[in-house]
């Protein structure tokens, strides 16, 4: 259940969850690119089987935070960080934590769809093949399940072996979601997944997000506040690398605690 604690009177109280409902726990996480701070002492919890949205102006650090959760920053030498991120109680930076296994459990969908130059089948099978050999029948089943979960199966079931690059933008994004689902992650990170798509594809993606809630924990970064309001259960508002406000979406949008939040939501500042 919700436990409120106010650490800093000028900031809105931070929402924390108990161990049963909390999936991701971020504690005093601080990250800098080549000395320039990008995330400042962030503390927040992401509840399981819910959609949590990160909103905020450009450059506020929402994508950076997302990429920290699956340790994509490891690829960048100039990044330094301290603080803790826990996935289901395990510190993701601990030496026993296997990074590739972490990334299997925490899937990511990027802003621009990036399917591999392979067939649709092979795209979805990519993650599966990394895990080891399995009978073809089983693999086919998993692929069909993943494409169905991503609401793409009906559209591509007849052309699984055609190149993925022939699909439309919205279809490609759903394909990326499918290939992420195929390895059965616990968490799905979505970095502005629909910003490069047309309105109809966007709606499809949003519906997909709602449907996936029952199986996964989703974290959605978006600059589209209406989308955040439509789709998410909890919303975190970040500004200049700091967590400004965090709470149930209804509350943040209709009755924000801080003036800063209200200014952003009503469009008075960018």
């Amino acid at each position: 259940m919700l436990a409120l604690s106010s650490a800093n009177p000028t900031q809105a109280p931070v929402t924390r969850f108990s161990a049963e409902t909390c999936c991701l726990s971020i504690n005093q996480f601080h990250l800098a690119y080549a000395g320039k701070t990008a995330l400042r002492d962030l503390t927040l919890d992401v509840p399981r089987h819910r959609v949590t949205a990160f909103i905020g102006p450009s450059g506020c650090g929402k994508s950076t935070l997302l990429r920290a959760i699956n340790r994509l920053h490891d690829l960048n030498e100039s990044v330094t960080h301290h603080g803790q991120i826990q996935l289901e109680g395990q510190d993701i930076h601990a030496s026993q934590m296997n990074v590739t296994e972490l990334r299997r459990r925490v899937g990511m969908v990027f802003q621009t769809p990036n399917p591999f130059p392979m067939s649709i089948y092979e795209n979805v099978a990519f993650g599966l093949r990394l895990q080891g050999r399995m009978p073809k029948r089983k693999r086919d089943d998993i692929i069909e399940w993943a494409l169905t979960s991503a609401a793409l199966w009906d559209e591509v079931k007849d052309r699984l072996h055609r190149s993925a690059w022939q699909l439309s933008g919205g279809q490609q994004q759903r394909l990326v979601i499918a290939r992420t689902l195929a390895v059965q992650p616990d968490v799905l990170l979505l970095d502005e997944p629909a910003s490069a798509l047309d309105p109809i594809s966007t709606l499809k993606i949003e519906e997909l997000i709602r449907n996936l809630k029952s199986q996964l924990t989703l974290v959605l970064v978006t600059h589209n506040m209406q989308q955040a309001a439509r789709v998410s259960d909890y919303t975190a508002f970040l500004q200049q690398g700091e967590l400004v406000e965090y709470g149930p979406t209804d509350q943040v949008f209709t009755n924000p605690r801080l003036q800063r939040t209200e200014n952003y939501i009503t469009g008075r500042i960018t």
Binding site: K138, W145, L181
Partner: protein, 372 residues
């Protein structure tokens, strides 16, 4: 629908593979790069023993060769630079784009012709022919640019219909038959001119009046042949630099009333200047290092003369001829390696300078908001 279960993951093996592979690639990559470094190290190492020889030798044995190398490179650059730069300017700024996409690869293909072949034709065909027709050759060399200007002049005087048929943007192609005709004309008239001006035999005149010897294979031949081989290098890089000048600059100049040529001369060339300069430098580097053409077309006579009609001997040709015979550890051996070292340093410096200049140019274009 419930997700099907995943099989047992081969996690530990994957990480081990990754570590081994990264180690191997790093070892291989570093090894290869070190091997490349080893060339310079070897050359310096094997040159050091020269210091031990002390008074026994002097570098002056190499000086006619160095002079020969420079002379050959200079001759080649004199021949190649105007043609290559002119071609680059025309190709980047005047030629029709459709034509350019066909002509540019063809000219760049010139670079692929092996030096042996060019050297063979130069040494065995061109050299004897020029020897017999020296006056014709010189006449053709002078006549070519004049005939080009003539073509231009006639074109301006021609009627509009002809000008439409044969536009300047396609002149690169339809001037080919014109030049061929002009060259034939010059060769046909040359004996008459030789008679009228030089009393029938230019070579005898040169010999008697100026004391100039004529060797069959000489700097002139090397200049033409090596120039031919170097043109595509200079052309390719200079053309890239000129074509990348942002169109907005050229259009701005022309909007102020400048003609195409003036825009090129006053705007494009200064902007692309560094790129053009680096192209010429890289061409010079090639000219200095070319071996087979000089071997076959220069006569391989180590002379210190400035005459274009005398032979020369270059450092690279000497290395090719003498090193296999030199006994390792002897004076000749180390001297020749020193020669190789000087070639290496020269071309390395020239190429580095050219590359640095090119990087600067790329950054300048980015600031100007051009391509790249």
């Amino acid at each position: 629908m419930t997700p099907p279960r995943l099989p047992f993951s081969r996690q530990p093996l994957r990480l081990i593979h990754d570590r081994i592979a990264t180690g191997l690639i790093t070892a291989g990559g570093v090894g290869v790069l070190l091997a490349i470094l080893a060339i310079g190290v070897f050359l310096i190492w094997e040159t050091l023993p020269l210091l031990a020889f002390g008074d026994e030798f002097s570098l002056s044995t190499l000086s006619p060769l160095a002079w020969g190398t420079l002379k050959a490179a200079l001759a080649a650059m004199l021949f190649a630079t105007p043609i290559a730069l002119g071609a680059a300017m025309y190709s980047a700024l005047f030629m029709s784009t459709r034509l350019r996409s066909r002509v540019k690869p063809i000219l760049e293909l010139m670079e692929a012709i092996p030096g042996v072949v060019v050297g063979f034709i130069a040494g065995l065909l061109l050299a004897p022919w020029v020897e017999r027709h020296l006056a014709s050759t010189l006449l053709v060399i002078v006549w070519l640019p004049l005939s080009a200007a003539l073509a231009g002049g006639l074109w301006y005087l021609a009627n509009a219909r002809l000008r439409q048929w044969l536009p300047l943007s396609w002149a690169g192609v339809w001037l080919i038959p014109w030049l061929a005709i002009m060259v034939t004309l010059a060769l046909w008239l040359a004996p008459l001119m030789e008679q009228a001006w030089f009393g029938g035999d230019l070579r005898r005149l040169l010999d008697q009046q100026y004391g100039l010897d004529y060797a069959t294979r000489n700097a002139l031949i090397v200049g033409i042949a090596m120039g031919f081989a170097v043109i595509p290098s200079i052309y390719s890089l200079a053309e890239d630099a000129l074509a990348d000048v942002p169109a907005s600059l050229m259009e701005g100049a022309q909007a102020l009333g400048a003609s195409r040529w003036q825009a090129l001369w006053k705007v494009a060339l200064p902007t692309a200047g560094p790129g053009v300069f680096s192209a010429v430098m890289i061409g010079a580097g090639r000219a200095v290092g070319e071996t087979m053409i000089v071997l076959m077309a220069s006569g391989n006579t180590a002379l210190f003369s400035a005459s274009p009609f005398e032979g020369l001997r270059s450092l690279s040709a000497s290395i090719a001829i003498e090193l296999p015979e030199a006994s390792p550890g002897g004076l000749t051996y180390h001297l020749l390696i020193f020669a190789a070292l000087s070639l290496f340093i020269f071309t390395f410096l020239v190429n580095t300078l050219a590359e640095v200049v090119r990087q600067r140019l790329r950054r300048r274009y980015q600031r100007l908001g051009g391509k790249l």
